[in-house]
């Protein structure tokens, strides 16, 4: 419990900053919505001028872009990207920061098992993400009710928003795995940005073509158009995500417990 509280306190500042940043992005984008919805017809014309491939790359879906949820889906792509970076940062730093700041000697000579250390750290990172999402959801709900021009399904809004949380969990798990595998990470940001953007671009280019390609990028596990149409998530992708999370975390525990902690 003491490690958990210590870790949570260590993440407090970054959690607050990330939460506020995410909220600012929603606020900024959604404030454009009313004027944007007014000029829908003209905007559609412009967008139609773009080849379909480009529209897909940008994540623009002309069918629903001008409904409030369609518009929100569009900006959710960026929100999720930011959220993924936050989660990846958390995951990557969990173990690596002890090595980089050379505090592993302190922590691991205390009467605790490495499993307990990992669990406490993992839980603290998880709770940080949960807190981020609670505040984000609350703020985004308030914002969307302020700018709405017509009725919309609040349930669908929540379902869309939760996809960020799921993607974050995926990146958290992947981040932890990377941090136990690499012996020393000099800069968390470099590793996490590189990984997140690699997956992001992989996702962009897997929008065209076969369905199977979507499994390559966590960003494509949740298709907003599908959610809007079916009021549900795609089961196979949920399963794939869960499998990746479980495997990464199990492997991380396994490696971390067996690993030699070298001085400096």
């Amino acid at each position: 419990m003491n490690i958990f509280m210590h870790e949570l306190r260590a993440y407090r500042k970054s959690t607050i900053i990330w939460t506020i940043s995410l909220i600012m992005i929603v606020l900024l984008f959604m404030s454009f919505y009313s004027s944007f919805a007014k000029d829908a017809a003209e905007f559609t014309k412009i967008m139609e001028g773009y080849p379909e491939a480009i529209r897909n790359l940008l994540g623009v879906n002309l069918g629903n872009l001008f409904t409030i949820l369609g518009f929100y889906s569009f900006l959710l792509t960026f929100i999720t990207l930011c959220g993924a970076i936050q989660a990846m940062n958390l995951g990557t730093s969990i173990v690596s920061k002890e090595v980089r700041e050379k505090t592993a000697d302190f922590l691991l000579t205390k009467p605790v098992t490495r499993t307990a250390v990992m669990t406490a750290k993992l839980l603290a990172a998880f709770i940080s993400l949960v807190i981020t999402n609670i505040f984000y959801l609350a703020a985004a709900s308030i914002i969307i009710f302020q700018v709405k021009t017509g009725d919309f399904s609040f349930k669908l809004f929540i379902m869309l928003s939760l996809t960020m949380f799921f993607v974050q969990l995926l990146f958290l798990a992947v981040g932890i795995f990377i941090s136990v595998i690499l012996s020393k990470i000099k800069s968390v940001l470099t590793v996490s940005l590189a990984t997140v953007f690699a997956f992001y671009f992989l996702g962009m280019f897997s929008t065209t073509g076969e369905e199977a390609k979507r499994y390559l990028s966590p960003f494509k596990y949740f298709d907003t158009a599908y959610i809007l149409e079916n009021s549900g998530y795609e089961a196979t992708f949920l399963v794939a995500g869960a499998v990746i999370i479980i495997l990464s975390i199990a492997a991380s525990y396994y490696v971390y417990v067996k690993k030699d902690i070298h001085s400096v």
């Binding site: 700041e101 050379k102 000697d105």
Partner: protein, 294 residues
């Protein structure tokens, strides 16, 4: 009773040297010195004892329990001071010590104050603002606050000024009298000499010897230095028991172990102007060990 039993402990790091076949015991209530030059394998041995790294083969028992299998249980009674102290930079000293104490399930706040006073440590400062010596003090308090039965100190004196070093040694002696066993690694022999009962000497990953400090010193080693008018050839002292022979002009110096009469007779034959016969300090014996092995 043995507090530490190290049994054929081996740790390989790929190509780099680790430790090979280290075997020695530390008895309860001892202050045990663990000496060797940098890179000899002192830290590797200590980190293995603490199961920060895992042995390639062999094992170690602490309080009679396997050091890997029962690591968390063993560590309740261990205080560890690493050679380089690093703690969470943005914490205050007091918060760090409280965090450290929170692992031991007993109230240490009184003890923290006590130790901080002895070591003259400001508890309100941020870790980040502390000098190397002050960080070391935090390390010392952190290692002692839960009154462990076994203290493992890895080159603990680096960064401490002589006054603090003195206080630290006094603290160690008090802990030792209260019953704590101490494993003290160092490459500075004089500090081991003052404090320890026995020493293990390690070199290039292998144990050279385990000796009582008193035996090491007494062992009939005498340090001879002779000022003579007659010319001395290298061969003049070519007798058993003479080591580290040095002839510099008319000054001859060497270490001697054996029947002292033999060497005195030899010297009596010479025309000498001055003579010094001293107990060698550990450093010289130590170097002697190293040369013998090399």
């Amino acid at each position: 009773m043995n507090v530490i039993e190290i049994n054929q402990l081996t740790k390989n790091y790929g190509k780099a040297r680790g430790i090979t076949d280290i075997t020695f015991n530390v008895e309860e209530g001892e202050i045990f010195g663990f000496i060797g030059p940098n890179g000899a394998g002192k830290s590797t041995t200590i980190r293995t004892l603490l199961s920060l790294i895992y042995p390639t083969s062999g094992n170690a028992k602490i309080f009679g329990m396997d050091s890997v299998k029962y690591a968390p249980k063993i560590k309740k009674q261990i205080g560890y001071l690493p050679s380089e102290v690093f703690y969470y930079d943005n914490m205050k000293v007091m918060d760090l010590l409280k965090y450290s104490a929170s692992f031991y399930k007993k109230d240490c706040s009184k003890r923290i104050k006590e130790l901080a006073e002895i070591m003259d440590l400001d508890l309100t400062k941020k870790m980040d603002d502390l000098s190397l010596g002050n960080k070391k003090k935090v390390g010392i308090v952190q290692g002692l606050l839960h009154e462990p039965k076994l203290l493992i100190l890895d080159e603990p004196t680096s960064g401490l000024d002589p006054l603090m070093q003195q206080k630290f040694f006094e603290l160690l002696e008090i802990e030792n009298k209260k019953g704590a066993t101490i494993l003290f690694s160092s490459h500075i022999l004089s500090e081991v000499q003052k404090l320890c009962n026995r020493v293990a000497i390690i070199k290039e990953g292998k144990l050279v010897t385990v000796e009582k400090i008193s035996t090491l010193q007494e062992n009939n080693y005498k340090k001879f230095k002779i000022d003579t008018q007659s010319t001395v050839g290298e061969d003049d002292f070519n007798m058993t028991g003479v080591t580290n022979l040095e002839v510099k002009g008319h000054i001859v110096s060497f270490l001697f172990k054996g029947n002292i009469n033999l060497v005195l007779k030899k010297i009596a034959e010479m025309d000498i102007t001055n003579i010094w016969i001293e107990e060698p300090d550990l450093e010289e014996i130590f170097l002697h060990y190293y040369e013998k092995e090399a």
